[in-house]
């Protein structure tokens, strides 16, 4: 059964790290919780290093074809672990010394593990496990603040998550019944002659679960609420990391489908609806976290574009992986700025940021312009490759829709940039300084620019086969 524990070393690191962090956190006094933080960071770092070394491994599946070790898996692991490290970096100020510091780290690690497994698995049953593994920590993270808003957001997420989970199970059952297997390698030939209607039911069920994790229409309702009400590190995490695993999982699933149903068109329509709805809803927001929440919804729309041409264009997978990395670091840069100035919650509060903290304003500018897709930032290269892949795959209309949406999105990002660079706020008091979040913000913004300029070096690494 190809049992290779070493192939799963990055995941094992995360799991072990979560357990040790939980144990250590339970026995440490509150002022020494930094040890737990250190353990969590070490586990993430170890996971990232082992994932990086595993990049050169031969492409294969392990454990009976349930887990792929390929380029996509490597990219998911690296992005997930780096993103989670960055989340801890931007959240230290907020989490340090609180009652549930170590628990937060444990949940972050488990959530990252879920996302990583979700993006790597090639078996529907493991996908279900990964869904639960990734979702349950999220509910806890969102509710951690124990404010009325957080409770509402946690409940909303939980209800939607439970429903999506059931649909995912239903879809899995139907596909298993049709194809006679749950591993993609056996499922693909099994589904070849299946009736289209039943196939569509199965696909819709599985997609419903994954779209909830990705925060795409129709499973997006929880994202803005959770982003607004949860603590900043939790909000940063849940708008970034779960999407990584879910989108790669959708990509893997779409390549399995036979041509008898038009899965690509379904994904393309979902992409168009998601980006449009996210943008339109973001227009009128005044709370920056909620605005970022809706902006992440619209970004998932762009991310679904290469998925729609998963089997139609060879450039789709590298484009998706590059955009995922670019999106993760950009979104986290924006959240890091939010975390660095916790007293500024609305767009108007950001007035005068450039005067009081020019570096943070610079980081914010880079992050938001990157989300718009301005060169030479990371998301620009992502958008370029994604648009190219979609056009190459024959979806020119989707490229036009996405371009129009990019223009529309500029409007609400500018609503945020403009006050930040305007003079003097109503209160000229200095910001409560949050050192590590500020450092994380500037570092992430530098990465946004670096990834954009060095995309030429990164892109060839992502061009690998997808196995199943």
């Amino acid at each position: 059964m190809h049992e290779e524990p070493l192939a799963l070393l990055p995941e094992i690191c995360l799991l072990a790290g979560a357990v040790v962090t939980l144990l250590a956190g339970s026995f440490l006094p509150r002022e020494r919780q930094w040890v737990a933080r250190l353990i969590a960071a070490t586990a993430l770092f170890g996971s990232a290093v082992t994932a990086a070394t595993a990049l050169t491994d031969p492409v294969r599946t392990v454990y009976g074809g349930t887990f792929a070790v390929d380029t996509a898996t490597g990219a998911v692991r690296l992005v997930v672990t780096s993103a989670t490290l960055l989340v801890i970096g931007l959240g230290v100020d907020e989490l340090a010394g609180t009652r549930r510091e170590s628990e937060s780290y444990v949940l972050l690690l488990l959530g990252a593990l879920g996302a990583s497994v979700m993006g790597s698995t090639t078996d529907l049953l493991v996908l279900v496990i990964a869904f639960l593994l990734g979702s349950i920590p999220l509910y806890g993270l969102i509710g951690m603040l124990r404010s009325p808003g957080a409770a509402e957001a946690a409940l909303k997420t939980y209800l939607l998550g439970a429903l999506s989970g059931i649909l995912l199970l239903l879809g899995t059952t139907v596909l298993y019944g049709l194809g006679g297997a749950t591993a993609y390698a056996d499922l693909a030939p099994g589904l070849a002659g299946a009736p289209a209607a039943a196939l569509a039911v199965g696909l819709l069920g599985v997609l419903a679960g994954l779209l909830f994790k990705a925060g795409a229409v129709p499973g997006h309702f929880w994202v803005p609420d959770a982003a607004q009400a949860a603590g900043t590190p939790a909000a940063a995490f849940l708008t970034t990391v779960p999407k990584i695993g879910a989108l790669v999982a959708i990509h893997r699933l779409v390549t399995v489908l036979p041509a008898s149903i038009d899965g690509p068109l379904l994904v393309a329509v979902l992409a168009a609806v998601t980006m449009t709805l996210g943008n339109l809803a973001a227009f009128t927001q005044t709370d920056v976290r909620r605005l970022l929440g809706w902006s992440t919804v619209s970004q998932v729309g762009y991310l679904l574009m290469p998925v729609a041409v998963a089997s139609g264009s060879a450039a789709a997978l590298p484009a998706l992986l590059l955009y995922l990395g670019a999106y993760a670091v950009t979104n986290l840069a924006a959240f890091a700025v939010v975390a660095a100035v916790p007293d500024r919650r609305t767009l108007e509060d950001f007035r005068g940021l450039a005067a009081s903290s020019p570096w943070l304003a610079g980081a914010l500018l880079v992050a938001l312009l990157s989300l718009v897709g301005t060169p030479p930032t990371a998301v620009f290269v992502g958008k370029l490759t994604v648009f190219t892949a979609a056009w190459d795959g024959g979806l020119v209309w989707l490229v036009v829709v996405a371009a129009l949406n990019s223009v529309a999105s500029l409007f609400y990002y500018l609503r945020w940039i403009a006050p930040a660079f305007r003079r003097g706020g109503p209160e000229a008091e200095p910001d409560r300084s949050r050192t590590s979040a500020s450092v994380a913000a500037v570092l992430a913004a530098a990465c946004v620019l670096g990834l954009g300029l060095a995309a030429g070096a990164v892109l060839p690494l992502l061009d690998g086969p997808l196995t199943r």
Partner: protein
């Protein structure tokens, strides 16, 4: 060398932006840097020999994103070198003009140096992604220039400018992706795309791709009906912001026509030539008529930009009419490139002069002034010179440019005659504005109007002197442009 010219201002902008220099130092540092750029560009021009094979001078190429066929590729030819020189001149004039700027001079210097980098980079770029990068960054820079140092409804105008031109830039990106996918092997390199001329056999896709590229460039140029962002942006921008916007940023659109759209999509361009010519004629007439109706000096000058850019469109449209003689079409394209340079010099001077009005009396409305010639004779003289240059008086660059455009375009098709009344209208509107502002008894805000200061004399005078120089002795510029224009016409006739 070319990279140094492109990135020196950027590096200086970063240093200026990050270091807490005193205001006076940063103002003079800005002047010194733009002067250094001017010298470097002088060296560039002196060392440029028109390559025999229609290639590029000062070419540099480095790996950038090889997996999508994009590289860092810069170079100059007869189309881009005049515009690079224009960029250096205008930014230098702006730096001198802004020597007394009181509002955050260090940040302004850093921003305009950044803008200068993007403009230089755009005109030097020989790769579509590089072109797009500088195109977008110039929009971002100009947004901050308008929003940060403008007046009146600056925030709103800046937003409109950004949204509108960003729409254009994304249309451009979509068009570029279309070109990239059509080329075999896929590439974003401009010379390679020009050599391959993909989509030459695919009329439908070619039309769509050209449509996207044209939309992007037309918004930036701007042409009717995509010009509505221009008047508010100009009215609310600072004097030097307007000068750079009109003098250089508008040229990015027209430069895109001759650099990318015409040579890379020749068959589609031929098919669309009549549309482009018509839009050009409409822009000429409509821009002039609307300018005639303005009561605000800056808005008036803004609309004359629409008019002047219309001439360029007429010329490049006529160049696509392959049925007519090659010589006439080459003349038209030479005139179009000359017009870009000429319009840059004259309009920048006019906007700087208009800025003096706001500087002294806080208004651009013609009704607020009267008889300015008495308290400010030098100002009146300079404005007269600039106005005459703009309306195409012989001995100024505008005449050289417009004469060639008309001689060439009318040689290609009689329809271009329809644009000639634009010159009459421009003459009328400038004379009328001049009368209202400068002649008669001194009234309104013109009382105690202070005449031009040395920095204003120097910056505006320099620009007008160059316009005069081009008008009197056009041959060095024309010798530079003509071979490149001939090769563009050759490429578009394929």
């Amino acid at each position: 060398m070319l990279s140094l010219i492109v990135f020196l201002p950027l590096g200086a902008a970063l240093v200026l932006g990050a270091s807490p220099l005193p205001d006076a130092v940063s103002r003079w540092a800005w002047v010194a840097l733009t002067a250094a750029e001017l010298v470097l560009v002088g060296v560039l021009v002196a060392g440029y020999d028109t390559p025999a094979d229609g290639g590029l001078g000062w070419e540099e190429r480095a790996r950038w994103i090889p997996s999508v066929g994009s590289s860092y590729h810069v170079g100059v030819d007869g189309l881009s070198l005049p515009l690079i020189a224009l960029t250096a001149v205008i930014f230098c004039a702006c730096a001198v003009y802004a020597l007394r700027e009181g509002r955050r001079p260090r940040a302004q210097a850093a921003l305009f140096l950044f803008l200068q980098s993007t403009c230089m980079g755009l005109f030097a770029a020989q790769d579509l992604i590089l072109f797009f990068l500088f195109f977008d960054l110039s929009i971002v820079g100009m947004y901050f220039a308008i929003a940060g140092w403008g007046h009146g409804g600056a925030a709103r105008s800046a937003l409109k400018f950004f949204l509108y031109t960003f729409l254009g830039s994304l249309a451009l990106l979509v068009g570029f992706i279309g070109l990239y996918l059509a080329a075999d092997p896929h590439t974003f390199d401009i010379p390679e795309l020009v050599a391959a001329a993909p989509l030459a056999d695919d009329a439908v896709t070619g039309a769509w791709v050209l449509g996207a590229v044209l939309l992007g460039l037309a918004v930036k140029t701007p042409t009717v009906p995509f010009h509505t962002w221009l008047p508010p942006a100009h009215t609310d921008a600072s004097a030097i912001g307007s000068a750079v916007l009109a003098g250089i940023l508008l040229k990015m659109g027209t430069y895109g026509f001759v650099r990318i759209a015409m040579p890379a999509l020749p068959s589609a361009w031929q098919a669309w030539a009549w549309v482009i010519l018509t839009v050009g004629v409409v822009s000429v007439l409509y821009g002039a008529l609307v300018a005639l109706a303005q009561t605000d000096v800056k808005r008036m000058i803004a609309y004359t930009s629409v008019n002047h850019m219309g001439y360029v469109l007429v010329a490049v449209g006529a160049a696509g009419l392959v049925a007519s003689g090659t010589e006439a079409r080459e003349l038209a394209v030479t005139g179009a490139v000359t017009q870009m340079v000429s319009h840059g010099l004259i309009t920048a001077a006019l906007f700087l002069l208009a800025g003096v009005l706001h500087d002294r009396a806080g208004s651009y409305a013609m009704d607020d002034y009267g008889g300015l010639a008495a308290p400010a004779p030098r100002y009146a003289g300079f404005f007269a010179v600039a106005a005459f240059a703009s309306l195409g008086l012989p001995a100024f660059s505008g005449f050289v440019a417009e004469f060639q455009i008309f001689a060439g375009s009318i040689g290609a098709t009689w329809v271009a005659v329809l644009a000639v009344p634009g010159i009459l209208l421009t003459a009328a509107l400038f004379l009328r504005a001049y009368q209202r502002l400068f002649t008669g008894p001194t009234t309104g805000r013109a009382v105690d109007f202070r005449d031009l200061r040395p920095r204003e004399l120097l910056s505006v005078g320099g620009l007008l002197l160059l316009s005069l120089l081009v008008g009197v002795a056009p041959w060095p510029l024309l010798d530079l442009i003509a071979p490149a224009a001939a090769s563009v016409v050759g490429l578009v006739s394929r």
